[in-house]
């Protein structure tokens, strides 16, 4: 599944599309502790977290996540969103809990093929 397919599915609110909407989403990944996410987030993952701050973006970029999905109604402030835009990181928001958000990504991957 590509990032574009996730965007078009309209499951989550898109806040920033990022640099490369054709990139593949490899797997959903859930974690809120940054140093665990840093070493465990698989490249190309859809990272679901409630941790909405600048450091989330640094970890997303350095671990090469395909997108950040902020769950449970969390959201970036203006400064963090501006940084996501300059760094080209795709960002979604959703009111869903973490597990359900990840499950939606998983289900959609099943429907669209694992890109």
């Amino acid at each position: 599944m590509t990032l574009n397919q996730l965007i078009r599915s309209d499951i989550f609110t898109l806040r920033n599309a990022g640099d490369d909407t054709e990139r593949a989403i490899t797997v959903p990944f859930c974690c809120d502790l940054l140093s665990i996410a840093m070493s465990r987030a698989p490249s190309g993952c859809a990272w679901v977290t409630v941790m909405a701050n600048m450091n989330t973006l640094a970890v997303a970029s350095l671990s090469d996540a395909a997108c950040v999905i902020l769950a449970e109604g969390t959201c970036f402030d203006d400064a963090a969103l501006a940084k996501a835009k300059t760094q080209g990181i795709a960002v979604f928001e959703t009111g869903l809990p973490v597990f359900e958000a990840a499950l939606k990504v998983h289900d959609l991957m099943g429907q669209t093929g694992q890109a």
């Binding site: 809120d32 502790l33 940054l34 140093s35 665990i36 840093m38 070493s39 490249s43 977290t49 941790m51 701050n53 600048m54 450091n55 989330t56 640094a58 970890v59 970029s61 350095l62 671990s63 090469d64 400064a79 963090a80 940084k83 760094q87």
Partner: protein, 141 residues
């Protein structure tokens, strides 16, 4: 450093949390431009980011020097913070002295130093209480 193909210098700001990680991002981009393999870039990025964040959270910032050598990347992270009392303990997964306000930002799993050890090929910690800490890591190309 002798034999270095390129040396990069970064001042790590002690106060500006929002900028923490910028040095690591910059190194990541430079290595990408140089055509370094994604596996090596990932190792360098993780190891350096954890070290950079520790300099901000646990010390008062400092200076990072990155040498790109013919066979390895060498990172030296030097701070003038409080030093580490018991390095062996600090290296244990799960050990953290991060205060609550820092934990609420997602830090404090006590996995930073173990990550640095895991993703670097060599790592050395020189620390003196009340003087500061220098962490030197290399990642083979």
């Amino acid at each position: 450093m002798d034999g270095s193909l390129m040396t990069l210098h970064y001042d790590v700001s002690p106060t500006d949390f929002t900028r923490a990680g910028e040095a690591s991002s910059d190194v990541k981009n430079k290595l990408k431009q140089l055509g370094v393999s994604p596996q090596v870039i990932r190792k360098v990025a993780i190891a350096m980011y954890e070290g950079e964040i520790n300099m901000v959270i646990h010390a008062q910032g400092g200076h990072i020097t990155v040498d790109i050598l013919p066979t390895m990347i060498r990172m030296e992270l030097k701070d003038v913070g409080p030093g580490i009392e018991d390095v062996e303990r600090a290296m244990q997964a799960g050990y953290s002295t991060a205060p609550d306000n820092i934990r609420s930002l997602g830090f404090g799993a006590g996995m930073g130093l173990p990550n640095m050890k895991k993703y670097s090929d060599t790592m050395q910690i020189d620390t003196v209480l009340g003087v500061g800490t220098t962490v030197t890591m290399t990642v083979d190309l």
